[in-house]
Amino acid sequence: MKKIISAIATVALVVGTAVAVAPAANAACSGKLKIAYQGPLTGPEAALGINELNGVKFALKKFLDANKGANVDPTVYEVDDQGDPAVAGPIAPKVAAEECVVALVGPAYSGASKVSLPVYLSAGLPIITPSATNPTLPSFGKSIFHRAVLTDDYQGPAAARLIVSKNKNAKVFLVNDASDYAVGLQKTVDITLAGRVVGKDVTPTGTTDFTATIAKIKKSKATAVFYSGYFSQAAVFVKQLRDSGSKIIFASGDGTLDDQFIKLARKAAEGALLTAPAVPFETASPKLAKEMVAAGWKPGVYTTESFDAANFFLDAIKAGNTDRASINKYVSTKSHKGLSKTLKFDADGEVSGADVNGFIVKNGKLVPVSNHRLRLL
């Protein structure tokens, strides 16, 4: 027994010493530089994260093909936060402590961003999010925060205009899933629609039965419903709405803009109006899209934006920047001509010159609506 105890004590001592002498966070990286990606890679929202990760992987592969011998790790450092703030919280410090991670594409979701950004700020780790659209995020990430898309301050009004463009006298019912993203987006839709909003309901993530919400929608005599939330629940909701006999317009934001939404809702998804500050990869560059598929990665929503974000970081590394601070300075001050737009960040890390696009589901496919540059309306 004594032996066992002393063995345990020795092990504890060794581990303790190892931890004590381990290099402090932010120390210079001795190996290859790593580009990280953070977003949901497992969990019900994983489809979106995988779209984005594929964009980063493809950008990295193209960069290394063109710059053989660059001091960059060919594997993306994957951070799976499941899109969930509760999961992101404990992971962020580990990512920040990886000294070779010099740049991060993500986090994908606004809620997870809110808990991760302060950690990355104190570690000086620069980030470019391809899809977190909550307008308040700059205050969490400050100097290290950059966003490759327009915020919900733009998307909400664009979605509102899209609904009204389909029906001038639209009366709209608002439903959100109580997530940070959904509440923020709904607020901006609400403000733009003003007097047209005839009712609201909140259906927290995990709701499977929408009976009461649908009864409310019917009683409100709404001609359109705007669902603010993510695709897996949006599909369940729109299916029950159509099964109840309702034929009103269904509209939603970028959380729903995913092939999985159409796959899950099938016929009920027909005619759904969706907005996103994103440009489909196939539209941005059909040639690269083909090349990407050939390389084994499927592009989806936000692949273009992730691809651009990763390339901006790789530009910085190519220009001779090898640590977090100098890479952050590079992306904050220089610009990058990407596929979706030219990335040039203002003092808050927000991008200029971007658009919100509108889509409609037709015959099981996402089709851009004719006037789909909604910011220009």
Binding site: T42, G43, P44, A46, A47, A178, D201, V202, T203, P204, G206, T207, T208, D209, F210, T211, A212, T213, A215, K216, K218, K219, S232, A235, V236, K239, Q240, D243, S244, G245, Q260, K263, L264, R266
Partner: protein, 316 residues
């Protein structure tokens, strides 16, 4: 607060609440049966339900139903639906029995504490959820529409839809069959005997392991039926489908008096209707708050639930 909606759409909400409640009631029977016999909360029961939904899905695939197909009609439809129902019930029943053999039997025979068994139950539940998360790539799955959804008739503004009518009637029949089984059959008597007094029952020659296996099987079959009805109405499932429904069904069992069959039935229907009403009046976000507040109030006044706590009282 919107009491006007409850007033205007009362019958519609009640009908939808009944259909939801029927599913809760079928699941809660499994919790209540096991508790009645073993005095154990089978936390893996929600996963027994989850496996039922996936089995119905697999069965529909084997029957050649594709998601893009038009709904089937006539005998073809009835046959396909029955196969899916039987597949879900069998899979859930077998899972429940296996869970008992793997996770509980050894512990019980070695006289482990109730807490050890409880942790074992939670462990099984987490393993099964994670297993299905990995198998399904964390993505929800859709169930094809085998039966067209139509409105049978309208009563006082309530549109009565065929699938929900089937759920309410079929669930009622299943419960009746289970009740007959418990009160009349040889094994049913065994279950009641063990739930009254395990030692005396053993002395009287009741094979306790067999009785426990039958208990888990019966609970599993009911959960499988619930899984089929759920997927028929809501047409989707995911690895975490059991979590929310399991909590609701467990609540229903406690509300009615856990260990009591009639209580579980009543609790299920009451909770289904209550959730629908509170969603309508206070908003869907308040559903859980109000429902659980009512549960706490009921338990404050009657700690053993509405119908008291034991299976032997379930005799009609």
């Amino acid at each position: 607060m919107d009491f006007a909606l409850l007033h205007d759409a009362f019958w519609g909400l009640t009908f939808d609440g009944l259909a939801l409640g029927a599913i809760y009631a079928l699941i809660s029977l499994g919790y209540t049966l096991v508790y009645g016999v073993l005095r154990l909360i089978n936390f893996a029961h929600s996963e027994v339900f989850m496996i039922g939904t996936f089995s119905a899905l697999v069965a529909s695939g084997i029957m050649g139903v594709k998601v893009e197909d038009d709904p089937r009609t006539g005998w073809n439809m009835i046959f396909t639906l029955l196969i899916c129902l039987v597949a879900a019930m069998l899979a859930s029943g077998i899972t429940a029995v296996l869970v008992e053999i793997v996770a509980y039997r050894r512990l019980r025979q070695r006289g482990a504490t109730k807490l050890a068994t409880l942790i074992s139950a939670i462990g099984v539940s987490i393993s099964l959820v994670e297993l299905f998360r990995i198998i399904t790539d964390s993505l929800p799955r859709e169930f094809p529409r085998i039966m067209d959804k139509t409105f049978l008739f309208s009563y006082a503004g309530a549109d009565i839809r065929n699938d929900k009518v089937i759920v309410i009637i079929a669930a009622g029949l299943m419960m009746f069959a289970l009740e007959r089984f418990i009160s009349k059959s040889r094994y049913g008597k065994g279950i009641r005997a063990v739930s009254m007094d395990e030692n005396t029952a053993t002395l009287m020659g009741v094979n306790i392991n067999k009785v426990i296996t039958v208990t888990f099987l019966a609970g599993g079959l009911m959960a499988g039926a619930a899984a089929f009805f759920y997927i028929l109405v809501y047409e989707n499932t995911s690895f975490k489908v059991g979590f929310f429904l399991g909590i609701s069904a467990f609540t229903a069992a406690v509300l009615g008096g856990i260990g009591n069959l009639k209580g579980a039935l009543f609790g299920g229907f009451v909770l289904g209707i209550l959730e629908t009403y509170t969603s309508a009046v206070f908003g869907t976000a308040w559903k859980a708050v109000i429902s659980f507040l009512i549960l706490v109030l009921v338990l404050l006044i009657k700690p053993t639930g509405l119908f008291g706590e034991s299976i032997q009282q379930a005799r009609v």
